[in-house]
Amino acid sequence: MSTANEPPPAAAPQNEAAATAQVDPRLVVQQEGFKGYLHEFTRKIKGGELGSLPVVVGLVLIWIVFQSLNSNFLSAQNLSNLSIDIVATGMISVGIVFVLLLGEIDLAAGSVSGVAAAVLAVLNVNKGWNPVLAIIAAVLVGTLLGFVHGWFFAKIGVPAFVVTLAGMLAWSGLQLQILGPNGTINLDNNGLVSKLTSSYFSQVVAAYGLAILAVAGFFAVSFLGNKRRKAAGVPSRTMTDLLIRTAGLAIVALGVAYILNQYKGLPVALLIFLIVCVLTDFILRRTSYGRKVFAVGGNIEAARRAGISVPWIRISVFMISGGMAAVGGIFAASRISSASQATGQSNVLMMAIAAAVIGGTSLFGGRGSTFSALLGMLVIQSIASGMALQGVSNSIQFMVTGAVLLAAVVIDSVSRRSQKAAGRA
């Protein structure tokens, strides 16, 4: 919270009568300029407000290590494939973030994604439905299964852990039932569903254009918001601050666009995933529904007294988790052009939960962001991809991913403790 007009802390007491001195002199106001940023940065680190810093640092380290082992790792082709590989589990992880924000867990997301893939394949291939209708039906089925979890949790009071554990078992049975005796249904390789993960915006201008559009949109929204803040007389950011943030985003966005254009262009699946991340983050941060989710995750009693319907928030969050799991299942089926008994099984669920936590969403509820699904999946998939390039077996890969997850949870717990010490948790 930096301000342009506020006097520095030392000068504040004398100006107390002045209209500008609305900020308490005890508040350490951020200094301007580069030194101010550095100061603010170290204060946040010491206070345990790490945010997404550990995961970004970790990601850079992982990339450096694998690139030094194999120069193909950071090739445009590998990064482009990697960006598509994160989508299916990443979608599930976005739903998991909502559940984790309540301080709960959804163990059934993997099975739900398998059921959704099976429903999609049966409707699209066996029954010959229009792929769009089949996709909608699959997502509705996932949402319905999520509703069942949420209802038992919120209305009956069964712990979410147990409800979704039961769901995990039951829905994987349902998945086998739907798929029938063959166990595998192949999708049309040139159908809409398969194209979800095999299409690219191959024109160079598409990736760059979207990157520029995103950066311009970000700047416009922050600039106009800041102008309103200034007009309303509440603390606002400095112009330098805005420009630095915009420049940071521009470097990342244009860099990604450049790399993707080196290969086949912007993958459609990645674009959809990014849009989902931005949209869900917007819902959580800028709508009263999202505020309610955070409130229930922070203090259930306070939320109830504020007139929030806690059961409805819980049920709706599990519905979102189920729906997003279904979307993940659809992308998983699309990636291999088939729905099988293996879709959504084994470690898909664990990877989705791990991604959310590695990305910085707290297991304790009330803190997190859907972008952690994106960041966490990048870490996990980078490890998988790097190991695969090295020809390392699955066994080692699992152990390394496990260690990374443990590290992420340790960072979460430790930063929570130092946040408490710094009075910020």
Binding site: R291, R305, G307
Partner: protein, 257 residues
């Protein structure tokens, strides 16, 4: 203070199974008046408050709001009338900032998107009129002191522009400085013409801010006192029910020494 009291209770009774918790209780609160509601544990203070706040409506008796009889069947009815209740356990979300907590459940929206700017400006204005000092309205509530948290909880109840504020032991867990902050705030509510019902076990606080003291004992009224011309001993003996009891004996011993 002339005219009809804002809130008047007449002959309120409430029974839980075999226990008669409240019997024929009267209470009046005027505009710009702080009424302390005192009594020992189990005297029926909380039950009375719940009856006013709509959490547990009384079995018998009449509640008059600005002279008209009303029935307060639910918390939302109470809020609609203009009764705000600040409970003992503060009911704030630690992970949300001050603005988020103040507006929780009644966010200001613009095109169905949260209007953070309007909420922040309104929060600053509200805190300023109450002379509440909080470093920034954008820091999480977790980083505030107990007294600051209590003032946030009280200001939160004021957003609905109530006429009566019920404070359930607002200073119970607070230090000297924080208690003073909260008592200051209570006086400011009175200056703004609000009626305040203050539940407290702390006689010093009661005498410091209350205009009148209503004593409950075993579910019945046991005296109304004007703070200015009542001694602490009189209130305590009304609370305990007799002059001959453990408290007065102990005080007598202390004086004799």
């Amino acid at each position: 203070m002339a005219g009809e009291p804002v809130l008047a209770l007449r002959g309120v009774s409430k029974r839980f199974g075999a226990v008669q918790v409240l019997t024929d209780v009267d209470l009046e609160v005027n505009r710009g008046e702080v009424v302390a509601l005192v009594g020992d544990n189990g005297a029926g203070k909380s039950t009375l408050i719940k009856a006013i706040a709509g959490v547990g409506p009384p079995d018998e008796g009449e509640i008059r709001w600005e002279g008209k009889p009303v029935s307060i069947g639910s918390p939302s009815v109470a809020q609609g009338l203009g009764i705000a209740t600040v409970y003992q356990d503060l009911a704030l979300c630690d992970n949300l900032d001050v603005v988020g907590n103040l507006f929780l459940g009644r966010e200001i929206r613009r095109f169905s998107i949260l209007d953070e700017v309007a909420m922040e400006a309104r929060a600053q204005e509200l805190l300023r009129t109450l002379s509440i000092k909080i470093p920034s309205v954008r820091i999480p509530v977790a980083s505030l002191s107990g007294g600051q948290r209590q003032t946030v909880a009280i200001s939160r109840s004021l957003l609905g522009a109530p006429k009566i504020v019920i404070l359930d032991e607002p200073t119970a867990a607070l230090g000297v400085e924080q208690t003073a902050q909260v008592l200051d705030l209570v006086e400011r509510l009175r200056e703004q013409g609000l009626g305040v019902i203050l539940i407290s076990h702390n006689m010093v606080d009661v005498r410091a801010v209350a205009d009148r003291v209503a004593v409950l004992r075993l579910g019945r009224n046991n005296g109304f006192f004007t703070t200015a011309d009542t001694t602490q001993e009189e209130i305590i003996s009304a609370i305990t029910g007799a002059t001959d009891n453990a408290v007065t004996r102990r005080q007598a011993k202390g004086e004799a020494r």
